[in-house]
């Protein structure tokens, strides 16, 4: 039961976070590079990113029912906005001198974006991605707590129903471990690489 709950939660997290990461980076780059998009969606993105993602659950259930999709929507919405906001500011803060230098060497359009702007913004995008991960984990746990559908959140709820404090605490410890482990597995090597190249201190 425990193993199944872990697998269920991790798979959901992986899928929802993956979608949020791609979408958030694309949205962030778009906001930083396109004035039209910025004017159209900028205030909306900032405003919505202040909404706790679990607030989307009622709407998600109304639209998609008590389904896998509903919980994914909550996870994605929880992670995509912080990633987009961090990406936008990372791209906006790329030193203009680097872009100018690249342009004098003939870089334009997509090659300028992929070869210079995104690498230059990578440290900021990475911290946005990390933030997005914790948001995704929180949204998932909240969602799983609120409606029965397997996963670690639901196991917490079961523990409460049974009055099993040990189970509840055990699951909390598991969630902490999951957070740390994912940090090491997903983000650590990128952070080390950034500090090696940029010469900045690695965060522990």
């Amino acid at each position: 039961m425990l193993l199944r709950a872990i697998v269920t939660s991790v798979l959901r997290l992986g899928l929802g976070y993956g979608v949020a990461l791609v979408g958030g980076v694309l949205l962030g780059v778009g906001l930083a590079r396109s004035r039209a998009l910025k004017e159209l969606a900028g205030p909306l993105v900032l405003g919505l990113s202040a909404v706790p993602s679990i607030c989307w659950l009622p709407l998600a259930i109304l639209w998609f029912g008590l389904s896998e999709l509903a919980i994914q929507v909550v996870v994605i919405l929880g992670a995509v906005l912080p990633i987009a906001v961090a990406t936008e500011s990372a791209v906006a803060q790329v030193p203009p001198q680097l872009v100018r230098a690249a342009r004098t060497m003939g870089a334009r359009g997509p090659r300028l974006l992929y070869g210079v702007i995104l690498p230059a913004a990578f440290p900021g995008i990475l911290s946005g991605a990390k933030l997005g991960w914790t948001f995704a984990l929180r949204s998932l746990m909240a969602g799983e707590l609120l409606f029965v559908s397997g996963g670690l959140g639901q196991l917490l709820e079961t523990g409460r129903d049974l009055g099993d404090t040990a189970l509840v605490l055990g699951v909390v410890v598991l969630i902490v471990a999951l957070g740390r482990l994912s940090d090491v597995l997903l983000f650590r090597r990128f952070e080390l690489e950034v500090s090696r190249r940029w010469g900045t201190e690695a965060a522990s």
Binding site: Q97, L98, M105, G115, F122, R197, W198, G199
Partner: protein, 314 residues
Amino acid sequence: MSVFANTLDRAPLGAEVPSAPPLRPAGRQPTGRAGASASLEGVSFSFASDRVAIETTSLHVEAGEFVCLVGPSGSGKSTILNLLAGLLAPSAGRVLEDGAPIAGPSPARAVVFQDAALFPWLTLQQNVEYPLALQGVPKAERAARSAELLRTVHLLRFAASYPHQLSGGMRQRGAIARALATDPKVLLMDEPFAALDAQTREILQGEVERLFLETRKTIVFVTHNVREAVRLADRVVLMGTRPGRVLREVPIALERPRRTGDASDARVHAYAAELAAGIRDEVEKIAKEEADDAWVAPGGGVRVDPRRNLGSGI
């Protein structure tokens, strides 16, 4: 030398200085593509209607000539360099390379910026190879070319270092190597040594002159420092401000390679003093505008130290 509309025509400086064209040591074969001429014809550029960076300015740089732009901050030196690079388009007038209008940035005109602008996520070698990769040069050829360039600027040992591991002077040499990678015809340098200490600066000046003599590329070099301009240039262009424009042009008739010994030092000093005098009015004008009350020049004029930077008397 060409003197255009906006140049104040005055008597040539330093009558005691020989007026023969600068000498080049014989017997050296220039390597790579030789320089192209570059010019501005009646060019104006404004950032906004009330922000005129340069006004109807003309400037001609011969192929294979080393020209230094000298002037106070805001006199449009960087604007001219960016126009020549193709990063900016003129509001009026024409910007030309070998007589043809410049439509945009091109690897034929490379730029070295004050802060080097090396990419922090790439090693020195990868930085030098970046413009070659953009041109689709195969990997093996890129490696050979970057090694050769890094040897030229004495940085081969640091090929695998990231920019943050290098000193300011080394980063600047790396930026020069990267600029030379595409074998440009024109090298544009915007205060490349302004942030360096005096000794490093002097060493790099020597290296830039050596590269100039070996490659015969056209070099347009912006500096605040009158002595640096005299040390390097075939011709110094004095810039004035508000609006930015060319004040006058001064050919430097000193043989190459320039020496730092005593005999030449006196002549360098004479040129530097002449140049500083040439912009004294300009510096005074800025000082007056920037002071918040009625400003009176102490002792009848701003003291301009000819051996140091412009405006050190403000």
